[in-house]
């Protein structure tokens, strides 16, 4: 048996450059071994003996490798009812104003960018259901996309394991999910209605730009993995897909301050959001 290939300095830089340009994510020096270990099985499957060969395979998208690369390097950590204070704050403090100025009257359009297996997008829908009495008469649509096609497929199937439900109280688990074998739960169809999942890439606007702009964009705990160049592109792209006055919500430790002149910070109760400034 051959020895495992080793990731050289040059290969690390090249792969990082490619991943940052195509997906936005960057692997700092201390995560070099992480990148190597994520790609190693793929090299074995393709019977490639050097990471440089894999770089060429992905860079030139031979046999559609770009999509597989996205699956390998993206972080899939997500769960239902994660950091719901921010979602609650949106419905509590901003929804009436958003509704009054919606891009399409009578409709609120939300986007979950970098949705992984759909936990956040579905959580948005579940939280909206509990809050929607206050804004009855509006239709809520939730679009969600991720660069990892396999995760998008999981989101569409909506079957989850215990990790995804670790913050879901037992009572809510019973109400919203149907058991499917050992340690698997399927979100009931009723609660999946109104959510649409597709493959898209935050750093490639054409993959998720809608015909009608969104009122709210959620992109939480995704940008922390992005390179600086990709952050700039992401901020620009979110500004493109949001209507003036629309809100961008990021994770608690993320910020686009200094990255774009097209947003202003606003306070939503205990949370911070970024409001799209008019053209």
């Amino acid at each position: 048996m051959r020895a495992d290939p080793q990731l050289t300095d040059d290969e690390f830089l090249l792969l990082n450059e490619l991943i940052a340009a195509e997906i936005g994510i960057t692997f700092p020096d201390h995560k070099r071994e992480l990148l190597a270990s994520r790609l190693r099985p793929r090299l074995q499957a393709l019977r490639l003996r050097r990471y440089f060969d894999y770089y060429l395979q992905a860079r030139y998208d031979l046999a559609g490798e770009r999509e597989r690369l996205a699956e390998l390097v993206t972080n899939h950590e997500s769960y239902f009812f994660r950091e719901t204070e921010q979602i609650e704050a949106l419905f509590e403090h901003a929804l009436p104003g958003l509704r009054a100025t919606a891009a399409t009257p009578g409709m609120l359009r939300l986007l979950s960018a970098g949705c992984a297996s759909g936990e956040e997008a579905y959580t948005l829908g579940l939280c909206a259901r509990r809050r929607f009495a206050g804004v009855a008469g509006s239709t809520l649509t939730i679009d969600a996309f991720d660069v990892d096609a396999s995760r998008v497929a999981m989101a569409q199937q909506a079957v989850y394991g215990p990790g995804a439900l670790r913050a879901t109280p037992a009572e809510l688990r019973q109400r919203y999910f149907t058991p499917r074998g050992a340690d698997r739960w399927e979100l009931k169809p009723l609660y999946r209605a109104g959510s649409r999942f597709y493959r898209g890439n935050i750093v490639a606007l054409e993959t998720f730009a809608p015909a009608v702009p969104y009122d709210v964009v959620f992109c939480r705990n995704v940008l922390i993995y992005f390179s600086e160049a990709a952050l700039h592109r992401a901020a620009d792209h979110f500004a493109e897909v949001l209507r003036p006055g629309g809100l961008l919500l990021l994770g608690a430790c993320e910020s686009i301050i200094g990255l774009s002149h097209r947003f202003e910070t606003v306070r939503l109760g205990p949370s911070i959001a970024y409001r799209r400034i008019g053209r």
Partner: protein, 671 residues
């Protein structure tokens, strides 16, 4: 909803800064200095990091020392310190000189610089400022001394445990860094101190040893309920896990009280407390708390989806069997423990847990140490089943086991069923087959891997014959799995296959040639028409460094790897030419480097791999290329030949804003 608009930045835009950074290597030195001092004010961390690296290599030392003295411009002052840090050991003499500066802020910067450099020679100089009248300086010096790790400094630091709280905190931390056993009693007395108690606990955990652990236990027992359990128990677990096993306190009545208190914490609400209590219980050695502690530890790990073997279990090989009998993460830990301590585990326990592939590598390591003659009953079927159930790309991981226990596995294979015939396969299948099946491809591959015994069906010729009889798709699948099996690959009728069905066999032949290093296949591969070029073929020529393949590759480059035919092959051809080298390859690569297509950078790299001295002018002319990857190739080639006229170009590259380029050029200049 209240709105607070963002301030508009007055600085150069991010795009502008990036363009300026790209242009910096081509600027005159003086202009670069001014641009560096402007760009360090940029709010972008990426721009700042790159420009600081540049300034560290570019600005003279006196200029950087002036920045340190600039108390009107904090940005420049901080940038000066950062650049001196980036200069590494070259900054040491300056830092020592600055310790005598009359300005306390400058002395403080010098101490911080020495702290960063961690040069052992700094100890004497730092001792000299321990009594500095400025508390910030003295505090930074104490911390820096601690991080130097020289035990001779302990007597200098002990008096500070009774000093001003600011210095006291620094001394506690430093003594912890120094792992000072002499300080344990003093630190233990500080555990109850509201200001430095938490730092003292951390220091004791870092110091470790029986006395430090006793101090932490005594304090925790005495103060239970009034403390941050998660932090203190975590530190205690850390300390206990660091004790030699023989040093764990053996005072059973006392241990009994501690265990009882720890077991209470297994039901704590916070997972950190539960996990820390479990670690402490397990670290204290075998007890009736083991089972509940294992259950808690596994449950907490499963919540975090972490299957790494906890350190505490490395101390407890006696638990391997119990772990292997548990499901999920615990079984994976058991497998890892079995691999670490093969003599402490019964093979039957491992076999029982072998079903899942999650801990496969640990299982392979463990079973790899079991002598073949002592293979436990059931091992052959278990290994075979694992092999057949694994996806093809992972099967190579257990090939060593197949070979080690070939007799047992061969016996098992004879008892395994063939898959159902095609017609029967159309009938509804049971939900999950009770027994694995081995299809004809599996059987041929296994025959090769298990080998023959005295002319049986496992000899290379017999396997090759069986492989020939397989339908085309099965044959190719088997070849992929056996590509590195040189005897079998050599026995195959490649000549006939490549003549009769070249499209079908070209990739498999290339794969076999590269993996088994079958140079005799190269003429057959070179005889293929260039239109059949594909990645495996291009890589095979490169891996076998086939100089005779260069004309074939050049033809592919000109007729096949072109727009509207198969442009995706162009980078692979370029790469292969670079790995083979030779005059014709170098000429083609030089032309490709200059043609300004997307593959130009790859051509520079490929040419760098095989460049000769006469190629140096092309690289000399590219040292200000806008692509860092091309500049990296320049540094590599110009450094390799080290011609005197290339020193200015290398010096320019040594100040490159991309660290990889700068490091490569610097190492060439220094080497």
């Amino acid at each position: 909803m209240s709105a607070a608009p963002l301030p508009l930045p007055s600085e150069i835009s991010w795009d502008g800064a990036m363009r300026l950074l790209e242009a910096l290597p081509a600027m005159p030195l003086a202009e670069r200095g001014a641009q560096v001092e402007m760009l360090v004010r940029n709010s972008s961390p990426g721009v700042r990091e790159r420009v600081l690296r540049l300034g560290a290599n570019l600005l003279p030392e006196e200029r950087l020392a002036e920045h340190l003295r600039n108390d009107h411009d904090a940005v420049l002052r901080n940038a000066g310190l950062e650049m001196l840090k980036l200069r590494g050991a070259r900054s040491f003499p300056l830092a020592v000189r600055l310790l005598a500066d009359p300005e306390p802020d400058v002395v403080l910067q010098a101490v911080l610089l020495l702290d960063h450099l961690r040069d052992p020679r700094a100890l004497e100089a730092l001792r000299g400022v321990l009594a500095h009248p400025d508390l910030n300086v003295a505090q930074a010096a104490i911390l820096a001394i601690g991080r130097l790790g020289d035990a001779r400094s302990i007597p200098d630091l002990l008096p500070f445990l009774a000093a001003d709280p600011w210095l006291q905190m620094a001394a506690v931390q430093a003594l912890g860094d120094l792992r000072s056993r002499r300080a344990v009693a003093d630190l233990a007395r500080l555990l109850g101190d509201p200001v430095v108690g938490a730092i003292a606990a951390e220091a004791l955990a870092r110091i470790g040893g029986v006395s430090a652990c006793r101090a932490l236990i005594a304090f925790w027992i005495g103060q239970a309920g009034q403390l941050d359990d998660a932090a203190l128990l975590g530190l205690l677990a850390h300390g206990l896990e660091g004790l030699p096993r023989a040093a764990v306190p053996a005072d059973r009545p006392a241990i009994g009280r501690i265990l009882a208190a720890l077991r209470d914490r297994l039901a704590a609400a916070a997972p950190e407390v539960r996990a820390a209590a479990a670690r402490c219980i397990l670290a204290l050695g075998p007890s009736d708390g083991d089972e509940p502690a294992l259950a808690v530890l596994a449950a907490v790990a499963e919540e975090g989806e972490d299957a790494r073997l906890p350190s505490v279990l490395r101390r407890r090989p006696d638990l391997a069997g119990a772990l292997l009998r548990r499901p999920g993460t615990a079984a994976a830990w058991g497998m890892q423990l079995a691999a670490l301590f093969p003599r402490r585990v019964a093979p039957a326990d491992v076999l029982a847990a072998l079903g899942g592939a999650a801990a496969l590598s640990a299982a392979v390591r463990f079973l790899g140490r079991v002598p073949a003659a002592q293979a436990p009953a059931g091992l052959g079927p278990a290994v075979l089943r694992l092999y057949l159930e694994l996806p093809a790309e992972r099967r190579a991981e257990i090939v060593p086991l197949l070979r080690r226990f070939r007799v047992a596995v061969r016996g098992a294979l004879a008892a395994v069923a063939e898959p159902p015939a095609a017609a029967a396969a159309l009938a509804p299948a049971p939900a999950a087959p009770a027994e694995p099946v081995a299809d004809p491809v599996d059987r041929v591959v296994l025959a090769a891997l298990l080998g023959g015994t005295g002319g049986s069906g496992g000899s290379p010729r017999a396997v090759a014959a069986a492989l020939e009889r397989l339908p085309l798709a099965g044959r190719l699948a088997a070849i992929v799995q056996l590509a590195a099996h040189r005897p079998v690959m050599r026995a195959l009728p490649w000549d006939a296959w490549l003549r009769e069905a070249p499209e079908a066999h070209a990739a498999a032949a290339a794969e076999a040639a590269a993996a088994s290093r079958l140079c005799e296949l190269l003429p057959l591969l070179r005889a293929l028409p260039p239109r059949l070029a594909e990645p495996a073929l291009l890589r095979a020529f490169a891996e076998l460094a086939d100089g005779d393949a260069v004309p074939w590759l050049l033809e592919v480059l000109e007729t096949v790897a072109v727009p509207r035919v198969r442009p995706e092959l162009r980078p692979l051809v370029i790469e292969s030419l670079g790995r083979i080298g030779g005059a014709a390859a170098r000429r083609a690569l030089a032309a490709a480097a200059l043609d300004r297509t997307a593959e130009s950078r790859l051509a520079y790299r490929a040419l760098a791999a095989c460049a000769e001295e006469e190629d140096a002018p092309l690289f000399r002319a590219a040292v200000t290329h806008s692509d860092w990857y091309v500049r990296l190739a320049c540094a590599e080639v110009l450094g390799r030949f080290a011609a005197p006229q290339d020193v200015p170009a290398l010096a320019r590259l040594a100040a490159d804003p991309v660290p990889a380029v700068a490091h490569r050029a610097l190492s060439c200049l220094e080497g």
